[in-house]
């Protein structure tokens, strides 16, 4: 979470309008989900990957690498299951001694479509996550007329989660120094104490933070000094044009019969 946050502040797309990015990402996601042709999610995957790469300066940090690998593993596994359970004309089969798994043409297509859609969705969402810090996201929600309390709560949770994680880290080290993790039962007991301690300390932290906020004249309103850009016509145009282009491409593919199930 923290690494993702740091990435967002270093992103090449940090200054882009959060609402514009959100609209564009949503357009790509919807286009990909509505498409019947495999070509559309593939186009979205290419666009998403390019944007993600640009956002992270084409250097894949560990956190993104792990997220990508984990998600890809699960998506591919899901795809294999879909391919195996969808009925249709068997294209090929795997003989696993005790049983045989047959893959149908329809199953393979559905699996490919789901896999590419999921990967495309993941890349565009990661692009948004790696280029939009939480306070910017909260600001976007406020502009979208989401209740102020919700955005405020989100900002508070974001800010204080760092402190609680720090606290948990310190408690972990303290427990380690005093042999808190020696033996399985002892480890469980230590974790239980840590959780209890975290709960109590979070209440104390909340009290102290409240004092800190009062000292700084907090008026129940989280304002941003460097306000992110609002959505401009350009973003709306890009999103609308992208949607229409992808929709049209899908129609052509369906009509011509390219990559259809």
């Amino acid at each position: 979470m923290f690494e993702l946050d740091e990435l967002a502040y270093r992103s090449a797309c940090l200054r882009w309008s959060p609402m514009g990015k959100f609209l564009f990402v949503l357009t790509l996601l919807v286009s990909s989900l509505l498409a019947k042709s495999l070509l559309i999610p593939m186009v979205v995957l290419i666009v998403g990957t390019t944007l993600l790469g640009y956002s992270i300066h084409f250097r894949i940090p560990r956190v993104i690498g792990i997220i990508l690998l984990e998600a890809m593993g699960m998506i591919v596994l899901g795809g294999i299951i879909i391919a195996a359970v969808t009925p249709g004309t068997t294209v090929f089969s795997l003989n696993l001694v005790l049983f045989k798994i047959g893959f149908s043409d329809k199953g393979l297509f559905t699996a490919s479509l789901v896999t590419v859609r999921a990967l495309a969705g993941m890349t565009v969402m990661l692009f948004f996550a790696t280029s939009t810090p939480i306070p910017y996201f909260a600001d976007m929600l406020l502009r979208l007329k989401v209740p102020k309390e919700f955005a405020e709560l989100m900002t508070m949770v974001y800010r204080y989660s760092f402190m609680l994680f720090d606290e948990a880290g310190r408690m972990y080290l303290a427990a380690q120094c005093r042999l808190g993790f020696k033996g399985k039962i002892n480890t469980l007991r230590t974790y239980a104490k840590m959780i209890t301690g975290m709960f109590i300390r979070s209440l104390e932290t909340a009290e102290r933070q409240n004092v800190g906020l009062q000292c700084r004249n907090y008026q129940n309103n989280v304002c941003l000094f460097r306000e992110p850009k609002g959505i401009g016509y350009a973003w709306v145009m890009i999103s609308v044009v992208s949607f229409l282009a992808l929709f049209q491409l899908n129609e052509i593919c369906v009509h011509v019969g390219i990559m259809l199930g």
């Binding site: 939480i134 933070q209 004092v211 000292c215 700084r216 004249n217 907090y218 309103n221 304002c223 000094f225």
Partner: protein
């Protein structure tokens, strides 16, 4: 009446009790004078932080009264907002105070809460970040800062409110000696700019060299209020508090007892002690030349190195001078501040001090008062 006019914050018979924790403050009456540096001393749990939170109206007394600028505090949102603009409190743990995700956002947090126009907020952010020397990391996420940087960020957040009174709860706790020196120099600069300062600390040496007025709180009661000398001569009070008089003070007492020194003037830090020795030995002290710096008069690297090669001690005073010098000098060159220059002058060297024009009269006044106090001839021009 004139005394009242100079009093910014005043507590009258202030008592406070936390639920289930007993009395935190008992019948405390004190005054914080305008333009003075006040140190509030006391052991842990004495009630210093609780007292501070009464100064800006975060806590409401159970009995008694807190007054700001001659008027009792009104505990309504609008009045409290105005009060907290004038009285800024910096908490001991910077994490309790830092709220926003990045450095500049956090400094802007207070001014934005005041509802100031964006341009004004931007100007205050620039000024506060420049004062604490954090302009170069203004976009850094606040959770990536070191403890010392977070302390400075909390200070910048308070300064951006442009308060009349700045209250610092143990501002030097947990900092390395260099950072402590930087914080103290910054507070000196703020003092010269007219801000009333209040600091709580356990570090007697720091308090002694820094403050003009001392208040001692113990078990929620005000035990002493007045100048340092009165506190350190009160042995029974010191013993009760478990405090020791500062090293310089005790050294002066011992030397006086041994017949080496007159007791007066009592030096406040090691530099003053050295000046006293100079007076005793009739040793001359080097002079100081103050050079004004601003954005149009930035010293060049050749100029500074030229002065150093002539054997002169080159230093700076104030955040502006420090910032401008840092722009021209390589990062590994660390110049001394005013105290550092004074030390070099006591060694017999001439010193050149860079400072922004509005600080020059205060520096000249400071040097002249030292010269007068220790009956030395120190040339300043």
């Amino acid at each position: 009446m004139s005394l009242l006019a100079n009093t910014l914050v005043e507590c009258k018979n202030l008592s406070f009790e936390y639920p289930n924790r007993g009395m935190a403050l008992r019948d405390v009456s004190l005054r914080i004078e305008e333009g003075k540096k006040t140190a509030i001393l006391g052991p842990n749990g004495a009630g210093k932080s609780t007292l501070f939170l009464h100064f800006n109206g975060v806590l409401k007394p159970r009995s008694g009264q807190v007054m700001f600028d001659g008027r009792p505090i009104v505990y309504r949102n609008k009045e409290l907002s105005q009060l907290r603009k004038e009285v800024a409190v910096i908490l001991q743990n910077p994490d309790d105070q830092i709220f926003s995700a990045t450095v500049e956002e956090d400094v802007a947090f207070g001014p934005l809460n005041l509802g100031l126009p964006r341009d004004e907020v931007a100007a205050r952010v620039d000024e506060a970040l420049s004062l604490v020397d954090m302009s170069h990391i203004r976009e850094r996420p606040s959770q990536q800062l070191s403890f010392g940087q977070r302390k400075r960020l909390a200070l910048a957040g308070a300064l951006a409110m442009r308060p009349k009174v700045l209250i610092m709860d143990e501002p030097t706790a947990g900092l390395d000696p260099h950072m402590v020196q930087e914080v103290l120099e910054l507070t000196e600069e703020l003092h010269m700019k007219g801000i009333t300062l209040v600091m709580s600390t356990h570090e007697m040496e720091v308090a002694y060299s820094w403050a003009e007025d001392f208040k001692v709180v113990h078990q929620g009661r005000l035990m002493y209020s007045g100048p340092a000398d009165g506190l350190f001569t009160n042995r029974s009070l010191l013993d009760m508090l478990g405090f020791q008089a500062p090293t310089v003070y005790r050294m002066n007492e011992e030397m006086c007892r041994s017949g080496l020194f007159d007791r007066e003037p009592v030096p406040r830090d090691m530099t003053e002690m050295r000046l006293k020795v100079c007076r005793m030995n009739r040793r001359s002290v080097g002079g100081m030349r103050i050079k004004e710096v601003d954005t149009e008069r930035v010293p060049t690297i050749i100029e500074v190195h030229g002065l150093i090669s002539q054997g002169k001690a080159v230093g700076y005073y104030g955040s502006t001078a420090k910032h401008l010098l840092a722009m021209t000098l390589p990062s590994d060159v660390r110049l001394p501040g005013l105290t550092g220059c004074l030390d070099k002058m006591i060694d017999g060297r001439e010193a050149v001090l860079y400072a922004e024009p509005k600080l020059v009269p205060s520096i000249v006044h400071h040097i002249n008062s030292l010269a007068q106090r220790y009956e030395l001839n120190i040339k300043v021009n």
